[in-house]
Amino acid sequence: MSAEVVLYDLPGPRARRRALIGTVVVLALAAALAYVVVRRLADRGQFEAELWTPLISPTHENFVRVWELLGQGLLATLMAAALAIVASLAIGTLLGSTRILLSASPKAGLRALRLPLVGGIELFRGLPVVPATYFAYTVLPELGLDFRGWPGGNLMWYVVIGLTAYNSVVIAEILRAGVASLPRGQAEAARAIGMTEGVAMRLVLLPQAFRVMLPALISQLVVILKDTSLGYFIGYQETLWRGLRLSQNFDNPIQTLLVVGLLFIGLNYLLSLGAVRLERRLSRTMSGAVSPTV
């Protein structure tokens, strides 16, 4: 808790007493608030067993069916997220490194090419995912690009395109910041041993930029996973869509949305957990590679 270290002195006896009084008061207020909420929920019959059992009781006649449908939704969410993540990382890396290489190029013609690229990146960065997805969903079929017959379900590709359009340029910018944060000596050393700009980018700069920017990249991947639920609005049958359908059946929106929300929180938690593992592994190999053996 470095924040506390900055903000406060080590508490003395009086400050500790004040904090204790504060704790008691807050706990009392929280208890009162919790009582009001629970009372209100109970008054409106939100604790009736029939609202909860389809979701949580394996003995309920519909339990298996409910989780089958939620499972299909989860699968749809994960598929769209995985494809959008892979596409965004690939396109983002390409865009980011191209932008750096173009602006560093000694040829004026190539440097000029950077302008449309930067313009495009800024454009897509300012475009929200919702209109981008609607754009893909309505405009592409008009132009003869119909993905409805593609594997993976009727509408998934529009969600993937909408998510990729925005997130790939965000990832490009993250990587660019990562490369910019590296010491100049890295690029110079790579050039000195005879690597071309492109090879230096691929073998020296990008791997380090990925490592430096891993926390920012991970939060962006969490954003992609969360934003797959925007597919609901064009009718993609992901977790939220399934959940809302079920809640119409059982008339239990609070309970179902609670479960769906927990599913998303769990998924994101797993994603972040995997990322922390990856980060630890990467930093181990990095320290092994960098530290001199003397």
């Binding site: 270290v5 903000l7 300012g126 475009l127 995912v129 209109p131 309505t138 929106p253 998303f264």
Partner: protein, 216 residues
């Protein structure tokens, strides 16, 4: 672009409504986010716990779920408001978690030595706060806070498809799926509407970022 030009007044009113909505949401989420950030760094343990729990839950939950929880959940327990209010509150509740983290990262970026030096020269808690810690914290919090607010403007497009009428995105849907006008010009017009807000905001933020940057 005829379908857009013919309906320019609709787009214009959608644009104005969207900007108004974004402004309200920005004020609300900065206010709530500041409160949550204060909770997170407070010396009172339960407040700290609440702040941390709030941020963890809300940050990992999609905005759409927060939105539906308010719109479909609250009426079940007898709280009925307009879709507009629900959408606004949901966006504020969602964005506040990110505002809180931006502010907290600003506080964390102030090195402990600064506060120690303030105490060493005899400043009291209030003085060290207002003269030393918060001005620096605020400066480093501006760039992330700006990105959070720009992201909030973009997220507000969700409320247009969610059922709030008069928003830029609802105008597009009404013209395209409602009146059957071709999608390409309609959605291009909508995209331009958003870009008019977000691109200058991004450029402005870049300027401010360079201006407030602290070389440590």
């Amino acid at each position: 672009m005829d379908p857009v030009l013919d309906n320019l007044d609709l787009f214009w009113s959608g644009f104005r409504n969207s900007v108004g909505f974004m402004a309200l949401a920005a004020v609300g989420s900065v206010a709530l986010g500041t409160v949550i950030a204060a909770f997170r760094v407070s010396p009172v343990a339960p407040l700290r716990f609440f702040g941390t729990a709030y941020v963890t839950v809300v940050r990992n939950c999609p905005l759409t779920i927060v939105l539906f929880f308010f719109a479909f959940g609250l009426p079940e327990i007898g709280i009925n408001r307009s879709f507009y209010t629900f959408a606004l509150v949901a966006l504020v509740v969602y964005t506040a978690a990110f505002v809180c983290e931006a502010l907290r990262s600003g506080i964390n970026s102030v090195s402990a030595g600064q506060a120690e030096a303030a105490r060493a020269i005899g400043l009291r808690f209030g003085q060290s706060m207002t003269e030393i810690v918060l001005p620096q914290a605020f400066r480093s919090a501006i760039p992330p806070l700006g990105s959070v607010l720009i992201a909030m403007c973009k997220n507000s497009a969700v409320v247009g498809v969610f059922g709030v009428s008069g928003h830029l995105m609802s105008v597009a849907r009404q013209l395209n799926s409602g009146e059957g006008l071709p999608a390409l010009p309609i959605y291009t017009g909508t995209a331009i509407g958003f870009l008019i807000i977000t691109v200058p905001a991004g450029i402005l933020l870049g300027r401010i970022e360079r201006k407030v940057a602290i070389v440590r």
